[in-house]
């Protein structure tokens, strides 16, 4: 098996987002959001669909090319200093999928435009909608990688991104040096991707690797939003 590189432009209709989660990000629960805000959210959601142009690229490396140990993930001659949390989760991997994705630059222009026309509320809500779509596109991509892995009798891990779980965001440069970046995502010197609603990362593959629920107790970063989601789930389950 050679390196398998793919690019997809899924339609926005292939992505689903949960507007309840956006309401939650806005600060509300189902019981205290007003119809006014819900209507604005619904309208912006429908308008947003026109401006979202998803693009994903990924490369799957053949078995035997990747390994993880002691805070590092090695791929061919490149060592990613992922930190021990991620390398620990990936220790059974023997190959890897690397990816980058974006919902496109038109979305950025649209959502920022609201500030210029004096509607900061719309700008804020549109921005949250964009973030949800970027996450949803990452889920979509994970499924494609999982399918390909399964065809080759390989299991897959969660996705991990530079900037999470102790992996420095500056390592984006190493990741991008390996990617065939046909989605036109620009990486600044400071490792910021443009368009803003973009995500990059890796997924470990291997015969013995299995995806575990995203476990927040493996990591100690307090401000991480996955932790917030995790805690919300717990609160929901308890009530």
């Amino acid at each position: 098996m050679d390196i398998l590189s793919k690019k997809y432009n899924p339609g926005v209709n292939e992505l689903t987002i949960d507007l309840k989660r956006v309401e939650h990000e806005m600060g509300y629960t189902e019981n205290n959001i007003t119809d006014d805000f819900r209507n604005i959210l619904n309208k912006l959601y429908h308008d947003a669909l026109k401006y979202i142009h998803p693009c994903v690229v990924f490369s799957i490396y053949p078995p035997g090319t990747a390994s993880a140990s002691r805070g590092e993930v090695s791929l061919n001659k490149i060592d990613f200093k992922t930190g021990k949390i991620i390398s620990g989760q990936l220790k059974k991997m023997d190959s890897v999928a690397i990816f980058a994705l974006t919902i496109g630059s038109e979305f950025d222009k649209w959502s920022k435009g609201f500030f210029e026309t004096g509607d900061p509320l719309a700008a804020y809500i549109a921005d949250l909608i964009g973030s949800e779509f970027a996450e949803s596109l990452a889920d979509w991509l994970e499924e494609r990688i999982a399918e390909t892995a399964e065809k080759n009798n390989l299991g897959h891990s969660n996705r991990y991104s530079p900037g999470y779980c102790g992996w420095s965001v500056s390592e984006q440069h190493k990741l991008f040096s390996l990617l065939e970046n046909d989605c036109g995502i620009k990486l600044t010197e400071t490792a910021l991707m443009q368009p803003i609603k973009s995500v990059s990362g890796i997924i470990g593959l291997g015969k013995d690797i299995i995806k575990k629920e995203y476990q927040c107790n493996i990591c100690d970063i307090e401000f991480c939003y996955k932790r917030q989601i995790d805690q919300n789930k717990k609160v929901k389950n308890e009530t």
Partner: protein, 222 residues
């Protein structure tokens, strides 16, 4: 209190911009901050009274609710929008000195960073709380902050960043500002920031949300 002023404060608190605006639903068709401010001026109510007894009161009420977890960023933003509609009518009074801002604050997203949603929200809330905000935009170099301080001496400064890579630039910017204009107060915020980081770089305060920042600033100028 004057009836117009009380109504105006409610319009600001609830985010009722003008008569055309469909929000909030229960105030549909009623006059909003725009019309009522015009009326107040026509009724010869002093601009400073309109500002303090109506507009600021409305913003304060919604700010308190935010502090108690009963209102959220969207509530602050619609209130700020109503406030800005009112402020348009007060512009001439600010120019003549009859009405005054609480002070000036220079805001920008630091160099290497292009994320502006957080900074823009803070800007809106501060403007709504009566501050004159000079927005330098994104990817702002230390030199640009220095130039802005030369143009607007005595201003406060607010820095924003999204990533741990770019938040490092807050350190040089804070340093350069403090070296060039000692005594300038520099405040920081953004997703990866913490009080600890703020202390480490010698900034004067970290705030997690715009409201606590606005409240703190109002406290230091009182």
């Amino acid at each position: 209190m004057h009836d117009i002023l009380e109504q105006l404060s409610i319009c600001v608190e609830r985010g009722k911009v003008d008569i055309k605006s469909p929000f909030p639903a229960d105030m549909k068709g009623r006059e909003g901050a725009d019309e009522l401010t015009r009326k107040a001026i026509e009724n010869k109510i002093p601009a400073s009274k309109i500002l303090n007894d109506a507009l600021m009161t409305g913003m304060q009420r919604i700010g308190e609710k935010f502090g108690q977890g009963k209102a959220f960023i969207p509530d602050l933003l619609i209130a700020a929008k109503a406030m800005n509609a009112a402020m348009e009518h007060l512009k001439p009074f600010f120019e003549s000195g009859e009405a005054k801002h609480k002070g000036k604050i220079i805001m920008g997203t630091v160099s290497g960073d292009l994320h502006d949603i957080g900074k823009n929200i803070v800007k809106m809330v501060l403007k709504g709380s009566g501050w004159d905000v000079i927005d330098l935009g994104v990817d702002v170099s230390s030199q640009k902050f220095i130039d802005a301080l030369a143009e607007h001496p005595g201003s406060y400064v607010g820095l924003s960043a999204l990533l741990t890579t770019t938040m490092l630039h807050m350190q040089d910017t804070t340093q350069v500002i403090k070296d060039t204009y000692p005594g300038t107060k520099v405040f920081v915020g953004g997703a990866p920031l913490s009080q600890e980081f703020c202390d480490k770089i010698g900034a004067d305060g970290y705030f997690r949300d715009p409201q606590s920042f606005a409240k703190y600033l109002s406290g230091i100028v009182q």
